[in-house]
Structure formats: C-alpha cells, structure tokens
C-alpha cells in the first residue's frame, strides 16, 4: 500500500483560547479548511473519522459531526486512542479506501480544554487518589524519574527538548506560545510534579485540525494541487497503567515504528524531519529511543547540541509541537509533516523528502506512526 493513499488537504483552526467554541464547531471549521485546501466539495466525502474529544466525553459523536457537516458517510466513527488517534484514523481511512469501503475520507479532531472543561486531565486515579495520585503530568513524571535514575538523563536534556520546540514555535505565526526558552529560564521554571517543570508540560489549547485522505489515483483525477503520499503507518499498544507497566522506560512505540518503517521500506536514518508527540519533554526522549533514532537510554545525549533543532541532524516539531504550537492532541503534527513535504513550513527543512509523525495517547499506553514523503 506504500504511496497508494495521499493526504490531499489539510485544515487547522486558530489554537489557544476560543471561549464559547464547541468541539463540533472547531471540527467543522477544520474540515471546511481541509476541503478547501484539497479543492474538493464535501459531497465527495464518504468516510468520516473523528477523534473522541478528550475534554468532553459524549456518545454518538461521529453522528453529531456528520450531521453538523451535512454528510452521510458510508464508513467511519469515533476513535478513542487519545493522542494516538490522528495517525491511526488516517491509517484506517487509507485501509478503508484501499478496500473500496470509501473513496474520500475526512479525518478530524478538536478539543476545548482551555476554555471548556479540563476535568479529564486533572482527575484522581481511582482508589489511588487517596495517596495524592492525580493527573496526567504525574504519570509522565513517574516515567521521567525512572529514566533519569536508570540512564542518567539530566534535567538540562529535558530542557533541550522544550527549547527546540519553543524555538520552532517562536517562528510560527500560528503558534499559541511564541516565546523562545533559554536554558536559564528553563532551570528557573517551577516544578509542577518533580522531575517535570512547567516548561516540560504541553500547552492547554482549544483548537481543531483535519485532513482529507484519498487514493493517489483519485487525487490525480480530481487535480488535487499538493497531494502528499502516505508511505507507511503502524500502531502499537503498551496498554498497562503506569503502576502496572513491567518496564517504565520502554514503550510499544517501538512496535508502531517498526511496522511503519517496514511498510515504507525506510529506516530511521532515512527520515529528514520528524514530528514527535511532545505532551511532555520525556515523551520525545523515549520516542527517539523506541523509534531507533538512538539506542535505548541515549535519548538524553541525543537531544543535546541542537541536534533536534532546525539545522540539526533530525529537526523535530518544526511548527512548535504540543509544547509551543498547540496542546491539541496530535493532528497539528500531521499537518506540519504535510507542510514539510510540500515545502511550505515556516521552519522548512531544505529538500525534505521524508517526514515522520509519532502520535501517542494516555501515558504512553498507545502509539501510532505515520511516514509521509514525496513518492
């Protein structure tokens, strides 16, 4: 299936504070922009894949979205895989198209935790709340501590991830946070849950983003302007809760990446630019290791010396990622990966022909990978 499906259009709302905007409205705006970008009519859409809004749980949400979009898709539904959902839904759309279950799919996500509810992010973890075990950041902090103790990963190395994303976000006019971060400011920022500081944690954002997926052949027939081929995809599920996970510092991102690289016929050394889910800085370090960009335990040294910044060996999160562009769970990484192949990023990697996306959800429970490239 390598290269048989393409991302034909991308759309993104503003990101940040949007009081009063429902997730439905943000999804519709993102879809409208993605359809415009692809240059197609909504009447062509017969597949609709929607991420379960993390901030606002409700049932039959895909039907709500289809009604709001005024379409009657043949296939689709809601996908509940947290931040891993965007790349996964694109993969399922591509497979549905390959199997003749639909021809043109909209894949969309939106959340409004900034001005809507964010209870989902702050809740206690069941009976363990009696020990003060609350919130998503603490789960990542538990992983980060183990990694730091086991491999000697340093605070400054977590900071290097934040600084790279903030540098890239500062140069993206659409980013929510456009203030670069110095090493001194990082070290001075307060702990949220030690070992994670405020600047290790992603933004909280209202926003939406969507893409149009179709076959490469259909894109040619329709005269789509800038289709970007999907070369590979994969998924992997760690599944265990943090307390139950036999090894806190290894994830099934390795499985997800291996599947995607095999499908694309590529290896980590072939990747020109990567968008790695950066809900927390530690996530990027584990992802670099599990994808094979460096050896296990070497993610800390790998991110030093500007290696992951524009001009480095492997620029990551070139629109700012979750730490600087938007805390939206993952589709902004896909739209930026598309821009890199089109050559339209505000932090363009010169001559990029391969662009990788790592999405993940929960506390590194579930992973998905997408590899895009000029065919």
């Amino acid at each position: 299936m390598r290269g048989t499906a393409v991302i034909a259009g991308i759309g993104q709302t503003a990101q940040g504070k949007m009081p009063g905007r429902t997730t439905t409205s943000l999804n519709v705006e993102a879809c409208r922009k993605a359809l415009d970008d692809a240059g197609i009519e909504k009447s062509m859409v017969d597949g609709l894949f929607v991420k379960y809004p993390t901030s606002e749980h409700r049932s039959m949400y895909a039907q709500t979205m289809a009604e709001a979009l005024g379409i009657q898709p043949r296939i689709g539904g809601v996908w509940d895989q947290g931040g891993a959902a965007p790349s996964s839904m694109i993969s399922f759309a591509a497979m549905a198209i390959e199997q003749g279950q639909c021809e043109v799919a909209l894949v969309t996500i939106a959340d409004n935790p900034r001005t809507g509810t964010r209870q989902a992010y702050e809740r206690g973890w069941g009976d363990d709340a009696v020990f003060g075990w609350f919130g998503t950041p603490a789960g990542y902090a538990m992983v980060a501590r183990r990694h730091m103790e086991q491999y000697g990963t340093k605070h400054e190395q977590l900071g290097a991830v934040a600084r790279a994303c903030r540098r890239h976000g500062a140069n993206n006019p659409d980013a929510q946070l456009r203030r670069p971060l110095t090493a001194e400011a990082y070290e001075a920022s307060s702990f949220v849950v030690d070992p994670l500081r405020r600047d290790d944690c992603c933004l909280i954002s209202d926003g939406g983003a969507a893409v149009v997926v179709m076959s490469a052949e259909r894109a040619r027939q329709l005269g789509v302007g800038a289709p970007v081929p999907i070369l590979g995809f994969g998924q992997g599920q760690t599944s265990w809760e943090v307390a139950q996970r036999p090894d806190l510092t290894s994830t099934a991102a390795a499985v997800s990446a291996r599947t995607a690289f095999a499908m694309a016929g590529l290896a980590p050394k072939d990747i020109d630019v990567a968008q790695l889910y950066d809900c927390f800085t530690i996530t990027v370090i584990l992802t670099l290791e599990d994808y094979g960009f460096c050896a296990k335990g070497q993610g800390g040294p790998f991110v030093e010396d500007g290696r992951i910044e524009i001009g480095g060996d492997l620029p990551i999160n070139t629109s700012g990622g979750l730490l600087s562009e938007s805390g939206m769970p993952g589709m902004q990484l896909v739209t930026e990966a598309v821009r890199q192949i089109r050559g339209t990023s505000t932090n363009q990697v010169a001559g990029a022909t391969t662009s990788l996306v790592s999405n993940q959800g929960g506390i590194m429970h579930t992973h998905s990978t997408l590899i895009l490239g000029s065919s």
């Binding site: 003060g132 992983v143 103790e149």
Partner: protein
C-alpha cells in the same frame, strides 16, 4: 472542610481493605497459574480464569519510581505539597501506587522498602518506609 478522596470499597476490593485493617497487606493470586497481582481484578490477566484467592504479602518490595507533587488541584493535597507518590513492586511481584515515608533526598530506584500501615479518615493505608 475539605475531605480526603477516599477509596470506594466494593465487593471486589473489600478483602484488600479488610486485610489492611487487620494489619496485613494482601495481593490477589490465581489458583490456576499462580500469577500474583494488584489492584483487584475479576479475572487473572495471565490465564483469564476467575479462580482467584487473596494471600498475605511479605510487605517487602523495592522502589520502582517516584514523583514529588509541587502543586495540586485537590484542596486536601494542595495543603500537603510537596509530597511524594511512588510505584512499589512487592517481592511477590504485585505493583502498587503508594507514598514513601522518607525525605525525597533519601530516595533512589531499587531501594528496598517495607510496608507501614497508617490510619487516615477511617482507612488503613499501605505506605512504605525504607527497609
């Protein structure tokens, strides 16, 4: 007056909390395959049978990882910051979330720990001290 977020005792978890009241930390054990785990489940996650019993743990284990909260949106824990939350693996193999009764500068992964049951708001809670 803010209240501690207390566990919800169900028929499934009642033997666990009762054991702690009686001064004993217990884990579940599969009679079929011998697998040991916490927290309480209806089926063994290894062999999927429901032939499960409760068994006393040695209460000894090792520190897997820990975090220190400097901020909490919960009113009770907002008053307790900074406080630690840890993952402990018991010698028998079960893992649980807990607090370590030691200053944070004394903590390191793989340190041996031993359970210390503490009373709070009518519950007996399994916390750990350094062994």
């Amino acid at each position: 007056m803010s209240e501690l977020p207390l566990p919800v005792v169900t028929p499934l978890t009642e033997p666990y909390w009762k054991g702690l009241e009686e001064g004993e930390l217990r884990h579940q054990k599969c009679r079929g395959c011998g697998h040991v785990w916490l927290p309480a489940r209806e089926e063994c996650p290894r062999c999927l049978t429901a032939d499960i019993t409760w068994e006393a743990s040695s209460g000894r284990g090792r520190l897997i990882s820990w975090v220190i909260y400097h901020h909490s949106s919960d009113p009770v824990f907002a008053e307790r910051v900074p406080y630690n939350v840890a993952v402990v693996e018991l010698d028998e193999g079960a893992r649980l979330i807990t607090n370590i009764l030691a200053p944070s500068e004394d903590l390191a992964i793989e340190l041996p720990v031993v359970v210390q049951i503490e009373q709070e708001s009518g519950f007996s809670l399994p916390r750990f001290r350094l062994a």
